[in-house]
Symmetry: none
C-alpha cells in the first residue's frame, strides 16, 4: 500500500493559520477590526460556520476578542502561551499510588549552618527540628524513600502523630496549628545515593536516586517545613501534566 497522502488540514485550521499569519505580519494592528464573518466567508469561499470555527481558534489563542454587535478586534499580534499544572491536594505531589507509613529513625534539634541554610533556603542560625525517616508502603516491602523532615520547633507537638499510615507533615501542621500551606517550592535533582542512605533503603550504594527538596510555606511566605527526599531510581517517578490555560 502506498504511503497515505498527508491529509489536508481542515479548512477552518487553514483559515485560522492564514489569519494568524496576517495578524503576526502586521496586516491588522492591535485594536484593529478583523473583517466581519460574512465577508471572510465570501472572500475565502467557506461557510460562516467554518469561519467561526477558525475565529474561535484565534480567540482561544488570545489573539482576538469578539463582541456581539461590534466585531472582532485584534488583541495581540502573537500568542504568549501560558501553561498551568494543577493539584487537587498537595499529597498529589508525592504521587504514591498506595498508602504509606512513616518510620522515624532519629530526631535532632539543629541549627542551620551555611550549607543547610542554602539547602533549606533559610537563614543560617535558624533552629529546626529534624527527623530522619523512611517511608514504606503499607505492606511489607522495602522503603520508597528516605526523607529528612525539618519543621519549626514551634510545631514539635506533631512529633507524636508523625508515625503511622497516611500521614503527611504538612497535613499535621494544617490540622494542629491551623496554618494553611499556601505555597510549595519543589526542587528536583539526581544524586548518587550515599552509602548510609542506601543501607537504609536497601539500595546499592552510589546508585542513582531522585533528590527532591520541598519547602512548605504558610501565609506571609513563612517557611514552615522542609523535606529532603531520596527516592531510589527504580522505585519512583514523578509526573506532571501541563495544560494550556483556558481549556
Amino acid at each position: 500500500m502506498p504511503a497515505a497522502a498527508p491529509a489536508a488540514a481542515p479548512r477552518y485550521q487553514q483559515l485560522a493559520e492564514r489569519l494568524r499569519r496576517e495578524i503576526a505580519a502586521g496586516k491588522y494592528a492591535v485594536g484593529a477590526m478583523l473583517p466581519p464573518e460574512l465577508e471572510l466567508s465570501g472572500r475565502h469561499g467557506v461557510s460562516r460556520h467554518t469561519v467561526r470555527e477558525a475565529i474561535r481558534r484565534l480567540a482561544d489563542m488570545g489573539l482576538i476578542t469578539r463582541h456581539q454587535g461590534i466585531g472582532t478586534r485584534v488583541k495581540a499580534l502573537q500568542v504568549e502561551p501560558r501553561y498551568t499544572a494543577s493539584l487537587t491536594d498537595v499529597a498529589d505531589l508525592f504521587q504514591y499510588t498506595q498508602r504509606t507509613r512513616l518510620k522515624v529513625l532519629a530526631e535532632h534539634r539543629v541549627r542551620a549552618d551555611t550549607a543547610l541554610a542554602a539547602l533549606l533556603r533559610c537563614k543560617p542560625g535558624q533552629r529546626w527540628l529534624k527527623f530522619e525517616t523512611c517511608r514504606y508502603p503499607i505492606e511489607d516491602a522495602p522503603p520508597i524513600a528516605y526523607t529528612e523532615i525539618y519543621i519549626l520547633p514551634a510545631y514539635g507537638r506533631i512529633r507524636a502523630r508523625l508515625e503511622g499510615g497516611g500521614v503527611w507533615v504538612y497535613g499535621l501542621i494544617e490540622q494542629h496549628y491551623g496554618e494553611r500551606i499556601v505555597e510549595v517550592q519543589q526542587e528536583i535533582g539526581a544524586v548518587a545515593i550515599p552509602a548510609r542512605v542506601a543501607r537504609l533503603l536497601g539500595a546499592k550504594p552510589r546508585s542513582p536516586g531522585l533528590h527532591v527538596v520541598r519547602g512548605y510555606f504558610g501565609s506571609g511566605e513563612r517557611l514552615l517545613s522542609v523535606s529532603v527526599n531520596v527516592y531510589p531510581a527504580e522505585r519512583f517517578k514523578l509526573s506532571t501534566h501541563w495544560r494550556l490555560q483556558g481549556r
Copy 2:
C-alpha cells in the same frame, strides 16, 4: 423601566450544565462513556450542533475526553484544582538560565517497538523521526543534556531548523505547522547515565542523571513530539513553585 426578564440561557449551556450535574452526581463513572451525540440530540430535542457545543464546554472544563470513532469518555467528576503552578512558556520547563544551542548527532526513521511505545506512550508500530542531540550552552562548555527527540514524520521539514541557538522543537512545530501545543506531559526519574551517553556528555559512566521524558500534545490530545532527556546530576535541577489557588 421594569427589570428585564432574565433571558433564558442558550440551549447548549443548559445541556452542558445538565450533563455536568449528572456527571458530578455519579450517573456516569470516571471512564464511562457519555451517550453518543445523536442520542443526546434526540433525547433532548436539540440539533447535533447544539449537543456538540455543550460537549465542547465540558471538554474545555476537562471533564471529558473525545475520540473520533470511540466516543466521549468521562475523565473527571468535577473540576477543583487547589494548587497550581504556571509557566508563561513551555521553554520554562527547561529552565536553562542561558540560551542554548542544539547539535544533531544522528537521525533515524524508527518504528516503535513495545519498549519504545511504552516509553513514548504511543502505539507499537507508530512511525517516528528520531534525532539524537546534545544541548550546549552558547559559550564553549560541556553539554547540559543529551536529548532524543521524536517527531511525527509529517513534521520532518523542521529538521533544517533544528540546529542553532535558542531553538525548541515545540516552537518549530507551532511556527511551521500552525499546531498548538496544548498539553505537556512530563515524567521525571533518575538514571545511571549509560556509557555511550556519558561519553557524549563528558560525564562519568554510571554516574547519576536526571531522566526526563516529555510528551507534547496538540489539540485533540494528539501526540506530536516526545523528547527523552538525560541531564548530568551536577549540571541541572528542576524547580517548580506551587501556589494555593486564588493568590
